[in-house]
Amino acid sequence: MYLCRNHRCFLCILEHVFITTHIFAFEMKKMLDFIIRSNERLNSRNHLLKVSPSTGEKLPPMFPGQFVQIWVDDSPATFLRRPVSINFIDEKKNEMWLLVQIIGEGTKKICARKEGSLLNMIFPLGKSFSIPPDTKTKTLLIGGGVGTAPLLFLGKVLKEKEFSPEFLLGGHSGKDLLQLDNFEKYGTVYCTTEDGTKGEKGLVTHHSVLQKKKYDFIYTCGPQPMMMAVARYAHENGIHCEVSLENLMACGFGACLCCTEKTTKGNVCTCTEGPVFNIKELTWID
């Protein structure tokens, strides 16, 4: 039994944790201009943007796994907003962090934005990772590439809630492993790289820690093949596993029905029912 996935659900807050289907009390979604406080180039393809509301208002409660929709208003090649995970919330500075990888025009333009410029965002969107009820639950957060983005925030929240999260981060090469210092603040970090330049050589699912330790909860985000491999591992070992999907989105808030994922309940919207899914809900594993 664990808390419902919407950490703001008043029923959960009242500790009616055994109620599994109930009305969630969502924080309102907003459209707001953020000001870019800093834009740091982490490596050739990844930037870390720290943003806060240009109005000065306090950030509403947000939860790991949730995302924002960014308007790229300075490019003729981007019509739709671009979804980006919430990488971290710095409550003290009232800042949200976004870890963005340059893929195409949209992310290129976002990463090119200078400190002080504005970013219009719709947020917070989607459902978050779930937090186990028992702080002794052994949690492992497995990330690949820029898929580590939501896991930093999740690690922070788990740590604050007195869990002892561990991290298993994979990349092609050492320089692809981002924010390691930050992750280390919240728990042990294991690494794999395909070229062996950092941590164990190989893919995350081959890391020795998966043989040595037994985890109760695995959270994962990264390239689809990686998440599928992780899901298979978790499934075979009877581990609760949540994945964060990156389906193509038009709206991000349930209006267009474009971001659907096939689940045991049929086609559901990734942007409202996800992006985080329990692998049991998905049709990945037969």
């Binding site: 309102m28 019509f79 193509l248 038009a250 474009c258 659907t260 086609n267």
Partner: protein, 303 residues
């Protein structure tokens, strides 16, 4: 506020700004962003007799100033709408119009019949123009004969305001408009999406699971505007215009071309508050141009 009022059949809209079917859910998706009661109306999701799972993912591709969708009328069916959704939305102080789709004439009729009794649903919009379903849909909207046939059948059973939504994928949209007018449609709405396609050059595969999909957004505005203008001059029933509206200027253009009301679709995804901004922009336009009522400029393009 009366100066924004417009009439479509028996339907009085408090203003001409409505939201397009399939882009606005059942309204609630936007409740965090705007006061839904300010809208002239909400055209809710395409509804069919039976539940539909819609098409496979991927269903969306971004294009220059627009997008392709291949949702394929995913919905839980009209019965679910009547029992589960209607009760949650009927309290809105705006008109809710159900967009009705089907594979056969009988489907349309059966679906329409189930909506008659719903007090707060004053009108339906017959979607004879969905390019994303295998049978029916657009096929009905691309011939005057079949468009007339489905309109006639629904008109027979449906006593409230009947709007027929036209497909732009035709040689002569006026002809179709005239055909549905002749069968008793109270209004026509146009345009639905244009049949389009997107390909990934690297993988050599289509970007949509269905290969083709429906194009919407600002890219189609010039064509949609032309069609509204043509249809306005071809029929005597009101025209509801749409296609790429993203600001009040676009809305005024459609109204000048002949639209009594407009629908805003895709742009709600980019700016979920756009509909309210358009209402405010129109009010401001009336002020600046010393117009007493929006109806003074419907179809008043100076040519």
């Amino acid at each position: 506020m009366d100066r924004l009022k417009v009439t479509i059949g028996d339907l009085e809209l408090k203003n001409p700004v409505t939201t397009a079917s399939g882009t606005f859910g059942y309204g609630s998706e936007y409740a965090d962003f705007i006061d839904l009661n300010r809208l002239g109306g909400i055209f809710v999701k395409g509804t069919t007799l039976e539940p539909r799972e819609g098409n496979d993912y991927p269903r969306m591709a971004e294009t220059a100033s627009g997008m392709l969708n291949a949702v394929g009328l995913q919905n839980k069916g009209v019965d679910y709408f009547v029992t589960h959704i209607y009760p949650t939305i009927k309290h809105y102080d705006t008109h809710i119009i159900v967009n009705v789709s089907g594979s056969t004439v009988e489907d349309y009729v059966a679906c329409a019949e189930k909506l008659i009794a719903l007090e707060k649903i004053p009108a339906i919009e017959l979607n004879i123009s969905c390019p994303n379903v295998k049978e029916g849909g657009m096929a009905f909207g691309t011939s005057a004969v079949s468009a007339a046939r489905v309109t006639k059948a629904v008109r027979k059973v449906y006593p409230k305001t009947l709007i027929v939504k036209l497909s732009p994928n035709v040689t002569d949209i006026s002809e179709i408009a005239k055909a549905v007018e002749a069968e008793g449609a109270d209004a026509v709405s146009l345009v639905n999406t244009f049949l389009g396609m997107a390909i990934d050059a690297e993988s050599r595969k289509p970007l949509l699971s269905t290969i083709t999909g429906g194009l919407s957004g600002p890219c189609i505005k010039p064509i949609a505007l032309r069609m509204v203008w043509q249809v306005y001059h071809a029929v005597n029933i009101p025209v509801i215009g749409m296609g790429g509206i993203s600001n009040w200027k676009d809305a005024i253009e459609f109204i000048l071309a002949g639209a009594t009301a407009v629908q805003i679709g895709t742009y709600n995804f980019i700016d979920p508050t756009v509909s309210v901004k358009v209402i405010e922009g129109i009010e401001n336009y009336l002020d600046r141009h010393n117009l007493r009522s929006i109806s003074e400029i419907i179809g008043k393009l100076e040519t």
